[in-house]
Subunit: 418 residues, 2 copies
């Protein structure tokens, strides 16, 4: 595409590309924008290096002028978008990229990869933290996803309210609180469970969490308190019926004089399992596969479409394809979260080629991310985490229901596109 556009002189036509989701995953009531910060950092470093260019030249993927263009590539356009952590609905313009055609199109895969992955994780994670109502959720899914995705997934989960991660690289790179856990292999390494627990307590202190379901839960809890006393930090349950076991173990711990010892549960948890466990005396949830794979929806379904471009006559014109089941809405979008006087979100208003009118209680959703090629927005996860908490708190209560439903806010287009 870039080669043909360079050759014909269309490569620098001014264009507006937008990233958005046509719909939410089936039955979801809101989505969470995540990855914006990572995408902007990647944009800052986005260069075609010698090895990449040599490959493209050797394989004759593109011609010489395209190679030259790629070698010199620096993004020089402007980008607006939803703040990272914002909630979104069908059609919400999550990124609005204005640049020459070639500059905008070369970023498509990068932006979509980052947003589709991170938003899928954050959207699932937000449902989990919403239903956990303040009980800590710990991200422990690194081993269930690609080794690099794992780091991004930990970031996305934290953004959506998770308290910590077992991924140490995510701690190092993004400053996310980390925690660890002992596996069954650690207990099995020892000649018996007593030795395993005693060694763990000796090395990590009484505040550690002991895994108590390797052999027999009741025996292990008794042993744990015998060895650690009432100062024992926690016990972890990783199998069986977690609801009934949590009640039994809580009552056993209280009886043994360890009322402050916490119960951590793990084992294929998702938002529904967490909801079921809310009635049980559980202190923290360790979530693995389901959070890092988006709880059934591993890609957020975002697309990146050309919505407006300079015509041969030099005027900006809205454009849209007419494909049967995938028609898109042409024209540049502006977005506003309509809110009641009480501050509750009521509607997603999207203006086409014009800014929707703020009724006084509303919140404009597009913020500047990149100006003339320079990143101007915060890219750190803490900013996104705070933003998500505020944005989710504005949603009506029905948005937080787990059952399949419609998007919590309707999307209304103010159609000025003529």
């Amino acid at each position: 595409m870039i080669q043909a556009a360079l050759a014909s002189g269309h490569a620098e036509r001014r264009c507006v590309f937008e990233a958005f989701a046509r719909r939410l995953p089936e039955g979801r009531r809101y989505g969470v924008v995540a990855g914006t910060g990572r995408a902007l950092e990647a944009l800052r470093d986005f260069r075609f290096g010698e090895e990449e260019l040599a490959f493209l030249a050797d394989r004759e993927v593109v011609d010489r002028s395209t190679l030259d263009w790629l070698a010199d590539f620096r993004f020089s356009g402007d980008i607006w978008g939803y703040a990272e952590g914002e909630v979104y609905f069908p059609g919400s313009p999550l990124l609005v990229v204005e640049s020459g055609f070639a500059e905008g199109v070369v970023l498509e895969t990068l932006f979509l990869s980052v947003l589709n992955h991170d938003s899928a994780v954050a959207s699932a994670a937000s449902r989990m933290t919403a239903v956990a109502h303040g009980r800590p959720c710990i991200e422990m899914g690194s081993r269930r996803t690609h080794e690099a995705s794992a780091v991004a997934a930990a970031r996305a989960a934290y953004l959506a309210g998770f308290s910590s991660t077992s991924n140490l690289e995510a701690g190092r790179r993004h400053g996310i609180p980390t925690m660890g856990t002992a596996a069954h292999s650690y207990t099995l390494l020892h000649d018996d469970e007593r030795q395993a627990f005693a060694n763990q307590l000796a090395s990590l202190g009484l505040s550690t969490t002991l895994l108590v379901d390797t052999y027999d839960v009741t025996g292990a809890v008794e042993l744990a308190v015998e060895l650690a006393g009432s100062e024992l930090g926690g016990v972890r349950l990783d199998s069986g019926d977690l609801v009934s076991q949590a009640f039994e173990v809580r009552s056993q711990l209280d009886r043994l004089g360890a009322p402050d010892t916490r119960i951590v549960v793990t084992s294929d948890l998702d938002e529904h399992a967490i909801a079921a466990l809310q009635a049980a005396p559980v202190d923290a949830y360790g979530v693995g596969t389901k959070v890092v794979t988006g709880s059934g929806h591993p890609a957020a379904g975002m697309v990146y479409k050309l919505v407006s471009r300079e015509s041969g006559a030099g005027r900006m014109e809205g454009v849209a394809k007419a494909s049967k089941d995938k028609a898109s809405v042409g024209g540049r979008k502006y977005a506003l979260r309509r809110r009641s006087t009480g501050g509750e979100a009521t509607e997603e208003i999207i203006g086409i080629n014009e800014r929707p009118q703020d009724d006084g209680d509303d919140r404009p959703l597009l913020v500047p991310l990149v100006e003339r090629g320079e990143v101007v927005a915060r890219t750190d996860v803490e900013a996104a985490r705070e933003h998500h908490e505020r944005a989710r708190a504005e949603l009506p209560q029905r948005a937080l229901r787990l059952s399949l439903g419609d998007p919590a806010l309707a999307t209304t287009y103010l159609d000025d596109w003529t």
Copy 2:
């Protein structure tokens, strides 16, 4: 775990860890091992660098002796495993890692991340290429998964029979054939479709593939042949009812004198959509989201368990946890694919602590991957692709059915574990 084991003197106890899947994803009839080559390459480079160690020290994640151990880490053990590309069943010992405890346990997340991701993609991809019966499948899902997973996913799909990828980095890094496509944005960039097609043909030659569903398919196909003539390489359909459109477009192309122009279809394809399109005159399938996210099963569900370790008395002993719904089978595993005299696979035989007897037509499944820390197996994707083709061809026909079913081969344990 490593810190406690170092402190108590258990860190060097000889251990055998095994990676396996307790079950296949619901209804799947076989799985495909992928990622082994990537995991071995990652093992070769697996070091704790200064930045990582400084982070662990600053945050007091581990103590000084553990930091020293990590700084010196080099894997010195032995690993056997299923050849990359092999098919697998519940319980198949995909990796058998023999080393000291700390060396084996520190690799758990790396190995599982790579295998769980790559095998999920390859297992889905293999179903697609099986049902496509030789029609090329093109991997085009980069934008639907994390930017680094995308490269690994292209490799895993190719291993399982895909013909090419749109991910150029996968071409550069793994030597996979690459191809590109024009998007709707390319057509919309131009003042009209005629200009877009003419410019693409001028730059990329008549063998290019034109996207014909931006406005009206019939008009676009007519225009395409008007501009390119009978030499036109292909047209792409990306929306609507692909089966009926493929018939219409094929007949239109033939009528216009372009019988050799190929029809490529894309648009949320998965193995079921491909099966439905097999009856239509389609020449190639472009597959995106569904292949890179494992077609409903984004993680292969593999676990990594301690199955045998040196006891205090110095003898190797099988170990297994007794957790209610996750009990594992202790003892070191050996595996054999039982085959009929005709060469058809009939059973997965797993010997515990002993090698199953080869009946003459059988195939041992564990091959040496690492010897005393040195990688001894091929890690390239071509070897894995060839192996997969041969291994899948041995399976009974029922293995290739798309409908939900049991694993195509039963797993039989020869239980000598006493």
